[in-house]
Amino acid sequence: MKNIYKPLKSKIENIVHESPGIKSFVLKPDEEFRFDTGQFIELTLPGFGEAAFTPSSSPFEKKRFEVTIMKAGYVTSLFHDIKKGIPVGVRGPYGAGYPVKQFEGKDVLILGGGVGLAPLRSLLLTLVAQKQNYKRIILCYGAKTPSDIIYKDQFKDWEKKGVQILRSVDKPDTSWQETVGVVTVLLDKIKVDTSKAVVAVCGPPVMMKFGTFKLLEIGFKPQSIYLSMERNMSCGVGKCGHCAFGPYFVCKDGPVFTYDQIKDFPDVWL
């Protein structure tokens, strides 16, 4: 029987400072590591603890992958203190990711807030690599301030590859020339035929909530809204109960759900 609690040894090959409080880590596991975009992993710092992250890199790369970590709690703070070369443990991948097959032939809208762009970047890279399969790829991204934007130097490259990009910040600085406001204001600026489009949303809970409401308002069907839900995923395999979400476990049945799947649950937005 497979041991579901044993981590795979991996090395931190590189650390990238994305913004104050957010870093990306390039990990090289001892064995080839495959995941579907949107699936998550459990990352261990041996002796300290484990936390769940969604890889932010392309799933087509099998030798190494990246996670983007915001300093927010115990384990994430420790990750911000470590240096390159340190061995860590990886379990997974777990859960159900984005069903990209079902996005084919459609406009794909990506709506991200803050560090929530991490799993969406993995999705974006997946889509871009086979962009002939999709009508358009549109990224709407919001952050608190220009310096809080992550993957700063990559937007140009994505734009070159045909992604339509709209960005907003809550608090601009003097050099900011793009939109000001919460990320949902960007949705007023785009034109999509919501009957032939899907949207993937990830961000802080409050942004997910109002983002979804806005998307419904502009005509998206609940079954076309893909939400990457956050809960306290601990074991990753549907056993420990921490991420219980109504009758579902986010780790096993998610983390990606359509709004249609969960809309009737109590306490969806908290």
């Binding site: 609690y5 981590p7 115990y74 074991c235 420990c240 921490h242 219980a244 908290l270």
Partner: protein, 351 residues
């Protein structure tokens, strides 16, 4: 189905205790606990009341090692604690809980630690001839009857004991310890079932409504005002979770030994009634109030998991009601919420 005399029943138990590392219900001060049996006189048979902790502690210890990691090389090895033991005198409620555990732990991603250890544990059940205490609701939730989860099962019948085997291991035990026994005739069998049904009629029967409708009622009355009421008094101590025979949630912790040589990943009991259970990094809590946690816990018992496993995930032992410092208990929960539903009390979202 066979039966043996009361005298033989006691002799068989004595022999089982002699031959095996056996655990059963033992009186300790005013309460009962599962503990090691040296002789049959240690075991409480007649006056059993539910033990403080269910036998879950042998299948699923409060704390166990899962993985050991060498601190220097970071090489990880699995660890599984197992021991050949016999649990004697497990009651129907706890047997049903074990059977649920077996299904939950083998579902989806099988849990190697539980399943490996489980193979080494023999379960010998005793039927209940009378209600054990006022907190029990086994007859209401349907867990007074056992289908699986045991190896041997003894049920008193006219001062004798009827024996059922529930597994291959049970048949082997039967051949080894019981040998000569009287096979029940069809008439005796019918009479036994009839007598058993008659004695169950004398149990508590405190749940006033038909249990079979519980999950749809819990769904429809998700916002029943009773949750707010008990949410206000709940101390969030987690006692209900810790004594529950079917609660299986856990947390994982890493501990480093003092020599800094080994990291041990441990599994420890955890509970959804505790404050930080659903909390994520950044201190965002997905179930911040006692009301939400109570709703969640009882919906798991009577709604979500009931639907998934087609049986009540509250096995009606009543341990939680007894342990609760403010007397929140499943009998009142069922009676109030089902009562509110039938009497048409509006819940929050309908107001």
């Amino acid at each position: 189905m066979h039966k043996i005399s009361s005298e033989k029943f006691h002799k068989v138990l004595e022999q089982i205790i002699k031959d095996n590392e056996t655990y059963g219900a033992v009186k300790k001060r005013d309460e009962y606990i599962y503990d090691r049996l040296e002789t049959l006189s240690d075991l409480e048979i007649e006056n059993y009341v539910p033990t403080v902790l269910p036998p879950k502690k042998y299948f699923y210890p409060q704390e166990e090692d899962l993985v050991q990691i060498d601190y220097k090389t970071k090489k990880a090895n699995r660890v599984i604690f197992k021991k050949e033991i016999v649990l004697l005198g497990v009651r129907p409620c706890d047997i049903n809980a074990i059977s649920l555990f077996d299904r939950i732990m083998s579902d989806g991603n099988p849990d190697p630690n539980y399943l490996e250890r489980r193979k080494h544990i023999t379960v010998i059940g005793f039927d209940c001839v009378k209600s054990c205490w006022e907190h029990a609701l086994c007859e209401a939730v349907g867990t007074i009857n056992v289908k699986e989860g045991y190896d041997l099962f003894f049920s008193e019948y006219k001062k004798e004991y009827v024996i059922k085997t529930g597994s291959k291991k049970g048949e082997e035990l039967f051949d080894r310890y019981i040998k000569n026994s009287h096979k029940l005739s069809e008439k005796e069998r019918d009479d036994y079932h009839h007598e058993r049904a008659e004695r169950i009629k004398k149990f508590n029967h405190k749940v006033k409504y038909l249990f079979q409708d519980v999950s749809s009622i819990f769904e429809k009355h998700y916002d029943d005002p009773y949750w707010k009421e008990i949410g206000k008094i709940c101390l969030m101590c987690g006692s209900c979770v810790m004594v529950c025979p079917t609660c299986y949630c856990f947390t994982m912790d890493e501990e480093v030994d003092l020599k800094l040589q080994t990291v041990t990943r441990k599994r420890k009991w955890d509970g959804c009634m505790l404050r930080d259970f659903a909390m994520v990094a950044g201190n965002h809590n997905f179930r911040p109030t006692a009301e939400m946690r109570l709703k969640h816990r009882w919906n798991r018992k009577f709604n979500y998991l009931l639907k998934k496993y087609h049986m009540s995930n509250c096995v009606g032992c009543g341990r939680c009601g007894f342990a609760c410092l403010v007397k929140i208990n499943p009998i009142d929960i069922l009676n109030t919420i089902m009562g509110n539903y039938y009497s048409g009390v509006k819940h929050e979202s309908e107001k």
